[in-house]
Every structure is written in structure tokens, then in C-alpha cells.
Symmetry: D2
């Protein structure tokens, strides 16, 4: 397969992110099918026309069903608000399209399950959920180190994903503050990223004990008065992994000064690995070997030794950026479609994350540990 | 009061730490009663004689009861193994001595309670538990910032105390691995330090949900074979504070590469403060004010603006060390004895920490949240 | 002007960098003329054909003169080895093309001067030299801060550009080790980047006192034996700026562990700004204001408050990468061509850098301070 | 020798530092002669009496000649203003006393030479100059690593000693601003510390090319009006080492935000070592060995593996402080007096530093490179 027709639904942050990754991936990576940007879709016609022109799509469109029905389209990117993911993804799969969907899968676990069942019914189609942070070559290197036994048996994983985009109490109320519309707060929006890393580094989470908080319980309504915030500003959980490791994970949207602190540590019996997305080109490693007087945590700057960094720059330490991770994610999906290795986060693997967040939600509301029932 | 006779029981790490702090405090601080190093006590006579000579004590002794009975001694430092704290501290109080005791208070909550009750019966005597890390001028500055409202209302505290002194599976079994002799593992030995900071910065912990792990379940016995480790290598807890804030705290003695990572974050509605003892002269502050494009987490290097740093050096950033904190702790205790302000961690305040660790121990074994019943 | 035909000469590291920036810039930035990728040129036909296909060029070509002559091409990117820059750039300007040339301008100062003179003769054409690191939004913010007087009068600039790509003595000899072919070593290849930043932050350098070293004086020849290295592995210089500030600058290709340590500090009478490309999304600022006890160097993570970051991501701290800087550089050049504001580094401004490196080269060989004679 | 009578002249920052180090060293180190604090001397009688009482001296005194003449005194600490060092040190040596003198040796090179000549005439007496930063166990470890060839041949040393104690233009004029009284500014006061490290790590400096600046050329006089500052706020120098390495060194007292940034890098053919006193318990090491994909600069936290850290704490990473370095310096001097190994910085070794600073002073005023003529 040399070319693949693409439709992108949504022109927001993630819509642009998908569109530009699709537009750049062939030039960047070389050995991938060439995406043909067939159609871009969003609800506002002037906007979608302008964006389609800028981003290089053949056509603009305000009817997502027609995108899915388009015979020139083989791959559909779903980058709309979470509540729309399920309907679009299921329809696209039913129409025989490969689906690249943003996280989280849907508003509810039921949504995620429905999407996964649609994917199961179409095993010839490929799916992917956009856990872009996991595509960082630093994380891939961490996985290789762990697999090679460099840090021994993993016994603990701890991490956070903290930002401050809702830290200011004066930020107005919006639909994102209402669980019925937005789903959970940071649990579905941010903690999932941390879990997506945890599952790759330490195995699946099988038990959770959690708490959730709403720090700013009401926010100013645009028209005056205060609106109630009923989803989580912060969440924390004690967790257990299927391999026996323990963990602590958390996320907050109200930690002043944190911008993208997706930071984690893996503790092993022979070493430790840590990272923080705010310095996304660093991977920190301690190994218990060599002269004890000269041991220390080292900072590895990613470079050509950490694939696919070399596709971006032949010199180490020069730095990848956030959008580069989406290009990597895109390349891996295109290769999977073309018969290459499967992606890490197809709907089935992403459903495991949704099981965990669902369990965290229940644990927090019920005040007790909850077992995550992954299928055997 | 210009002078105060001192007896120190114990010549280990903490015995030396107390003795040298007592020996240096008058020269360092000036405005404190002068400790007179009357008697040093330990079980091995040649050792205690040698140490008494080096450290400047008038006499050496192997009978702790005689130290307590000594009429020249008004202050007794208890730096022996934890299981001996209770008997010695209670006896010293009953003998009318001020008591400076190392943490944790005893092996069990019952020990700590008994010690506190002895102190309550002698309100004219002063007590102090050695939470030396809290004496860091950086932490005192954090307390002032929080009290002044610089970071707004505190809504979350998170922290760890991680080291790697038991990370190597080949480290032999010792009595420290047996709960009956040593008490809990990191809970009593290390997590208490984090809690001692948490209580000062965020208020008392009133509810805990915890888990404990033993990562290396057995260790080589010195004489061959393997010995069972039955206390905790690691502990984590979700907590609530009396003021409504939430928190996550943990500790581990098996995290390779961490040497004294007593690191914490306080999240407020207007800012954030963080610190890590491994860089103990840094305090990190973010305040949500000024040009948004120029906001960032700043690193404050402690200096003369952070009392009592100036007693150690007139120039900022030159660095205090671990032992300097013990000198500060010592000075505050001496001043309290001389009628100055009370210390932060007398037995009563330290008992609140023991209530929390006791609750964490129960929560971990019972698998459910436990309320900490502080007296009103 | 809505579209502009582009020819790119060179398919190496920088050729790919230019080509992909040109391919992405319209989608990324929106308000720029759309580059039309007309022709890609390099010496090896199969390679240039393959790259042209991947990168989206209409045509491939092995004759650079025909690129310049191409009536569909209005902008020529020169990304070939340094010794070819002069001939190509001058020919392109003479053919009426805008020229985007990689740094350094040429092998010698005479080359740079000839290129600049060609540009002076064609004032309707735009030129740009690829000092991409200066396009970092962090550096733009530093410029705004300095211009606004936030750090007062700048009195000192210090910086390095250190890497380790030649640190290993076993790296074989290549043409890059011979001054006659490659020009100076790190002076022309790396120190120019630091100077390009210094000129924007502290003004032009007017006096230099320098030293150069060749740390590995010979290297293994591919065919056996050792080849002589006759250009600089490292260079250092004491400098003066036209505004009166002093400075120290240096560069080395033999500092183990440094990958892209383009790090600098600006010292002002009211504050300090520092940065290091290895953490390219950080800008560090100290301002002498507010409570002295709470002052510290803050780390600003770039975000939407630092244009044009928002074109890459609506959320702060998520991270730009090396290639994103080239997209910014490209956008600014296209806008300048379309009548927008001039770029910072046209040939004239870049020539000032070449005057400085030429002076450094002379100072090092003559062992005395050398004045840089910028035209008034 | 078990005991040694000590007289300390000066009760300022360094007087306290010496006095408390002398008071603590026996307790801290054990295997050193016990200093007997015989007499403390300063010009103001009430002050010196109060300090002598606090610091534990037998007697207070305002006549330094009587201290030197005191038959109970075998060791004299000279901690007075620099202009008094020569007279006191020479007199003390002539009176048969060991001399521990603060840096720099005197106001001028002639002073330093005279002091050294006095020491040469009394080879049975020990001398030491207080380059306390070099006593950091981190630096001792760096020396061991270099000596063991871990980073190969050293080819470059670079460093600064930057602070901000004179950065504020409003800081009033004082005698420290006048060269005739204070000697050079940062050159003698601060850069000497960096040179003291450089000489231990990279060998002696044999050639310098320097520049000096006065950033705030006048300062407010206490009584009104402005006073002229005629010594250096900042100095920079390109240097060569006797082993062939190159270097760049500098110092400034006007860099806002730097408190004790005594930071340096040693570049070797197989690795790199760096440190910064602001994080004085860290040593950073890169070695070019092992899996290239996992190499990085590691941060070694000092601990018991780095003598004599264990005398301060049995646990690594807990942190030494500035004053602990003075205790180490004191112990080494006492051991040398008692027949142990010589100290690194006796007057002879310190004179080599003075030769370098003298050469830097001349190079800056003459505008040309100056060779440092160390005796063979």
C-alpha cells in the first residue's frame, strides 16, 4: 500500500495536530504509506474551509457522516469532543474505515466498550487511540531498558500528570466542568496519559484505591453568578499492577506552575528510571553497578540512538517537540495499516486504560478498593 | 538560666549528632543557655570512654539510670534504639529532667502515648522529638509564606521520603527487618519525617488510606540461609488534612539512586511550594502574579534572609548541612527550657504524628480508610 | 502574494530541514504565502529522486544552475556544504531569486562579503541565513524582557556552544578536519550560533581576544594511518559589545556529555536571564524585585504567551522541538518576501557575525586583541 | 601531639568560622590533635570578650602581638582584613607559630611573597591558606577520578565564581571599593577560590589573558555624594595550564541571582566532570563508556564513599554545609602539624595562586597575554 485517503473530523487542537502529522509524516519518515488529505470536517463552514485550505485538504465538509461514507477515505481521524467519539468511531468502523481516535475513548466506559466491540467485529481494520506522550523515544528507550532487565524486576511505579490550566479560581465555568457533558475531569482527560505510560512500563493496573477532589467547587458563569463544578480537579490512586508491583498515580489541573508535568518513576530491584514531559528529551536512569562512589542518576538526552529520533535530526540533544510525537504515532498507525507491526494502543489496549479509569471513578465514589477486571 | 547540664544516652549516628550539636550550639547561636556536657552513656565501656573524650564530656558511663539520676544533669538526650525510648524517656521525666528524644517516639503507639502522658504529668519539663529536617530555614520560610497567604489556601500536599539503603537484595538480614524488634520499617523510620513536615505546612492528617509492601521478602542471614523480612520496605497513603486539603505521602528504602529524597509539594490556590532535601538549601516557589509570560517556578537559595541561616554564614547560598539542622533544633530546645517559645515538636505534637503512623499501619493491614482520632 | 515557488539545493540534514519546514509552514502558521515545492536538487540522482518524492517536490534535479534558472522558482534554499554557498547564493541573487542560505555564509569572510554585496545589488530580493536557534520563542521573550528594561542595562554576556560529536579520538579523519576544505572547525560551524544569539541580546561584538585549540591533533584515516586535523576543536574569546558590555564566548566539539549545550547568560543591572538549548523550552529569569527572601531564578516554560508557540500548541509547557524553530524561521522569511517585517538575519546582519568570527580567527593566530570593524 | 594551643585573630565571618571549626574538629574527626582555644583577639574589647565567651576561648585580647607572643599558643589563625595578613603572619612565623591564614594571602603579590619567604625560613612550621571550597568531598572525589584516568587527559577547564552581593547599584561605597585599601575586587576575593580548584584539578596556570570591569563605577557615599569604585566588579581570563590544557575562568560580584555559584567543568578525552557550589553535595560525571544509548551526565550525591563525609553522617545525600568544609580544612592542618600528610594549600602552594592573580591583574591593565613565572 503506497497511499491512503484520509478524512479528519475536528479542527481544534487535536484536529490540527492530526492534520499536520498526516501532512508531514511521509516527508519525515519516508517508509510509510503516503496519506492523501481528502477531506476535513467541522461544524462551522467558513472555519473548516479556511483550515482545509491551510492544511492542504482537497475538500472541506460539515457533515461527518459524509466523510465516513466517502469512498476515497480509508482512514478517519476522530478529534471531536469526547461525547462524539463513540458514534463517529463506531460508524466509521461499520463503514469499513480505519479509525484514529483521540483520547479518552468516550464519555463513559460503555462508550469505550461499544467502540472496542465495533473494532472486534472488523478485525481487518486498524484502530488507534492518541496516547501521543507514549511515543516519546525516551519512553521507548525506557521500555527497552526494562525489557532487557537493566533495572531488574519492577516493583513500583509512581507518577503524576499535573497542569495549572484550571488553577485560577476566576477561570469561568464551561461545559468541561459538568460531568454529564465532559465526563470526568482530569481522570479522563489527563490521568489516562499517565496510565498509558504505566501500562507500557509496569504492566496493567489490576486494583485501585482512589480519591477525587474538586478544589474550586464553583466558577463564575459567563453571564454572572456561579456555576457548579461537579467533576474532578484532582485525582489520586494507590494501584497494583498485574505483575505484583505497587504504584501511586495522580493528576491535577490546579497545580500552579505545572504546565505539562507528566512525570513518572519506575523503581526496579537493580535501578530506577524517571522522566518528566516538561523536559521531554531527558530520560533519567540509575543503575546499581560500577564503583559505588561514582554512581548517580544520569540524564540521557535522546538522540539518534533512540529511534525514531534520527528521522527528525541526525544530532543528539537538539530536541523533539510535542508535535513530533504525533508524527511518530501517525507513522506507526500507517505502518500497521500497511501490514506492519500493530500499534501499542489500538482500541483493545486502550480499553484496558478505560477499565482502570472506570475503576478509579467507582473507587472514589464508593470509598473502597476496586478490582479492575481485565479479561484473561 | 545560663547553663544546663546535659547527659546523652547513645553514641551512634544520632548520639554523635546530639553531642556535637550540644557542643557547638552556644558558639554558633550565642543567645542560648550553655550546655555543659556532663555525661555520655552507652553499653560498651571502651567505646563510650573514647567518645566521651573526643566529644568533650566530663564523664563516661554505661548505666543509663545513673545518667538520669545525676543531679548535675537537667537535660537528657535519648538516642538509643527505638525500643528503649519509652523506658528511658519516662524515667527521665519522672526524675525531673527535660528530654530530647530521637524519632520515632517508640516501637508502638502505646509507647508514644505513655511517653506523652509522662510529659503531661510534668508540665514544667520540656520535651522534644528530633524531627530535624523541619528545622531547615527553607521550611521555615515555606511556613511563613503559607501563613502570609502567598500561595492562597492549601488544597493538596504530596511528598515522599525515598532512600536506597535497603535496595540491594544482598544486604543481610538484621533486627531492623523484624517488626517485633524494630517496629515498622520505613513507616516509623522515614515516613514520620515527611509527616512532621506535612503537619507544619498543611495541618494535621485526619484520615488515611494506605498500603505497605515488602519488596525483598527475605534477606541473607549472616550465618547462611535466608531470614524473613516482616516489616515494610515501602508505604504509601492517601490522606486528608484537618483543613480539608488532600494529600499523598509515601516512603521507601528500596528506591535505587535516592539518598535523602525527602521531597514535598504544597499546592495552594495562588501558588505552589516544593522542596527536596537532597538540595536542602533550595526552596521552590511559584506565585500566580505578575506578567503571565514571565511566571515560573523560582528556586530560592537560603541565606541570611531565612533565619537562623545568618548564624551559620553571612552570605547566602553557601549552604547549610544536615548537622546544622540539629544545631538549630538544639538551640530551640534550649531556649524553650530557658523560657523561650515552645518547640514545634514536643511529645504532644509528636504524638499526633504517631497517631497518623498508627492509623497508616492499621489501614494497610485492614485494607480500608482509617480515621485518625486527634483529641479536640 | 499567496504562493511562492521554491527550489531547495541539498538533501542532507539541512536540506531535509528546509524542505520539511517549507512543506509544513502554511499548515502550521496560516498567514504566510504558500511555498510550492517545485524542485529539489542534489548530486546523486537516485537519492534526489527518492527524497523529492518523499518530501513532496514536483521535480528532482542534479544541476543546481538549472534550479536557479527555473522561472517557477522564486526562492532558493542553499543547504549544500559551506564551500558551495557563495557561488550558489550569488548566482541565485543575480538570477533574481530570494535566497535562504544555511550558516555559516561561506568558507571565508571574502565569501560572506561577496554574498552580501550581491544582496546589496538586489535590494528587492530577500535573503536569510539559517540561525534557527534564535527563533526559539524563549529567546524572543528574552529580547522583549531586555528591551523593556526588566533586567536593566546589560553589562555582560557569556555563553558556550558545546557538543561531543568529535570528542572520541577514534572518530576518523574527514574533510571537516581540514581548514582548506571545511573552513574553521567549531568557530564557523557552532560558535556562530552563539554569536547570532549574542548580537540579538547584547548588541554587536566590536572587539575580540581569542584562543583556539585542536584537542585531537590527528585522527585515523579511513584507509589506515593518521590524518592531521588543522582546524579548531575548541575556541574561546573575551569580547566587548558595542554598548559597552563585556563577554566571554566559546565553543567546543569535544566536550563529552554535551549534545547541544548552546547555553548563555545575560547579566543586567537589575536581573539575569539564562537559557540552554538542551532544555530549549525553558527560559530562566531573575529579577531584583519583591521580597528579598523570596527571590530566586525562575524557570519560565514557554507557552502561548510566547509567540508563535501558540501556532504549535495551545497549551504551555508541551514543548517545541528543533525542527519547529526552522518552521518559524521559514515563516518569517516568507512574510518578509511578502512585504512583512524584515528578518533578523538577512545577509547584511549575518555578515556582522562573519566579521566577528573572522576577527576571532585572526586574534587566535596573532595572539592579540582584534577590533571588529563594523561599518557605521 | 595530643593538644595544641590556639589563638584566633579576628571575630568576623572568618573568625567565627575558624573558631567554631577549631572547637568542633576533635569531636567531629576523632583522630586529630585537640585544639585548646586559648585566646581570641579583635580590636573592640566588649565584642571580643562576648565572642570569646560564646565560642569557648579561655581569654579575650585586643593586642594581636600578645597573641603571637603567647607561649600557650602554637597555632595562630589570621582572619583579619587582607591588608593585615602579611604583618601578622610573618610575625607569627617569626615567633615560631604555625599559621592558618585566610585568603587571599595579602593585598599584593609582594605581601604573599614575603609571607611565603617567612614560611620558607621556618620549615618546621606549618602554614595553610583557607581555600575551604577545595575541601569539599565532591572535589576530592573529582581529583581521584582524574588521577585514575576516568576522564582521560584533561584538555580544558572552565569555571566561574559569581555572586550578587554588589549587584545592586544602591549598595553604598565602602573601603572594599578602593584598590589601595582592599586590593583587587573579585580577583583577590573570589576568583582565587576558582583558581584554587583549577590548580588541583588541572595543574597550575602558566599563562593568562584577562579583562576586568567595574560595572558600577561609582556608589553612594554614606554621607551623601558618590564615591569612585576603582577595583574590579568582574574579571575574565583565558588561561593555559602547565600540562597543556586551556581554560576560561571568571568571577563577578554583580550577577543577580547567583549566591555562591562557584561552578566549574573539567573536560577530558574520555569524560567530563562538573560541579557548582550552590549544590555543593553534587558532583556531575560523564564517562564515555557503556551502551551509547544510555550514556548521560550523572549526578553523584556525596556520602560515606567520599571521605571524610562519613565523619559528618553515615548516610549519603544528607548534605554537608559550608562550615563543614572548614572543619575538614582544620583537621587536615592539625594532622599536618602533628606529622601527618602536608596540606594542599600551604603558603608555597597558595603563592602559586597569587602569581596567577598578579598576572591576571597585569594582563588586564596591559591588554596583552602574561606568562606566569612559577619557579621550576
Amino acid at each position: 500500500m503506497n497511499e491512503i485517503g484520509v478524512g479528519v473530523i475536528g479542527t481544534g487542537f487535536m484536529g490540527k495536530c492530526h492534520a499536520l502529522a498526516l501532512g508531514a509524516v511521509k516527508a519525515r519518515m519516508g517508509d510509510v504509506p503516503r496519506p492523501l488529505l481528502k477531506v476535513l470536517c467541522d461544524v462551522d463552514e467558513p472555519t473548516v474551509r479556511a483550515r482545509a485550505d491551510e492544511w492542504g485538504f482537497d475538500r472541506a465538509n460539515t457533515d461527518w457522516r459524509s466523510v465516513i461514507a466517502d469512498p476515497e477515505v480509508q482512514l478517519v481521524s476522530v478529534t471531536t469532543p469526547n461525547r462524539l467519539h463513540r458514534e463517529m468511531a463506531v460508524a466509521a468502523l461499520e463503514a469499513g474505515k480505519h479509525v484514529w481516535c483521540e483520547k479518552p475513548m468516550g464519555l463513559t466506559f460503555a462508550d469505550a466498550l461499544a467502540m472496542t466491540e465495533a473494532a472486534r467485529k472488523a478485525p481487518h481494520l486498524k484502530t488507534q487511540v492518541g496516547f501521543n506522550y507514549t511515543r516519546n523515544p525516551a519512553i521507548s528507550h525506557a521500555r527497552r531498558l526494562i525489557a532487557a532487565g537493566v533495572i531488574g524486576r519492577v516493583h513500583h511505579f509512581t507518577g503524576v500528570m499535573d497542569e495549572d490550566y484550571m488553577a485560577d479560581a476566576e477561570i469561568p465555568w464551561s461545559w468541561r466542568c459538568r460531568k454529564a457533558e465532559a465526563g470526568t475531569g482530569v481522570l479522563g482527560d489527563m490521568l489516562v496519559h499517565l496510565i498509558s505510560i504505566a501500562h507500557l512500563l509496569a504492566g496493567r493496573i489490576v486494583r485501585v484505591t482512589s480519591e477525587m477532589q474538586t478544589v474550586h467547587a464553583s466558577r463564575p458563569m459567563p453571564g454572572g453568578g456561579m456555576g457548579v463544578v461537579d467533576n474532578d480537579d484532582a485525582v489520586q490512586a494507590l494501584v497494583r499492577f498485574e505483575g505484583g508491583a505497587t504504584g501511586v498515580i495522580g493528576s491535577s489541573r490546579v497545580v500552579w506552575g505545572r504546565k505539562a508535568k507528566l512525570a513518572w518513576e519506575v523503581h526496579g530491584t537493580k535501578g530506577t528510571i524517571t522522566a518528566n514531559h516538561e523536559h521531554m528529551n531527558d530520560l533519567n536512569l540509575f543503575v546499581a553497578e560500577g564503583d559505588p562512589a561514582s554512581r548517580g542518576i544520569r540524564t540521557i538526552l535522546t538522540g539518534p540512538a533512540h529511534p525514531p529520533y534520527a528521522e527528525f535530526c541526525p544530532a543528539p540533544g537538539h530536541g523533539l517537540g510535542f508535535n513530533d510525537l504525533k508524527v511518530i504515532e501517525c507513522a506507526e498507525f500507517l505502518r500497521a495499516i500497511a501490514g506492519g507491526p500493530p500499534v501499542d494502543y489500538d482500541f483493545e489496549a486502550a480499553l484496558a486504560i478505560e477499565r482502570v479509569t472506570d475503576a478509579i471513578d467507582r473507587s472514589a465514589s464508593e470509598g473502597r478498593p476496586v478490582t479492575v477486571s481485565h479479561p484473561v
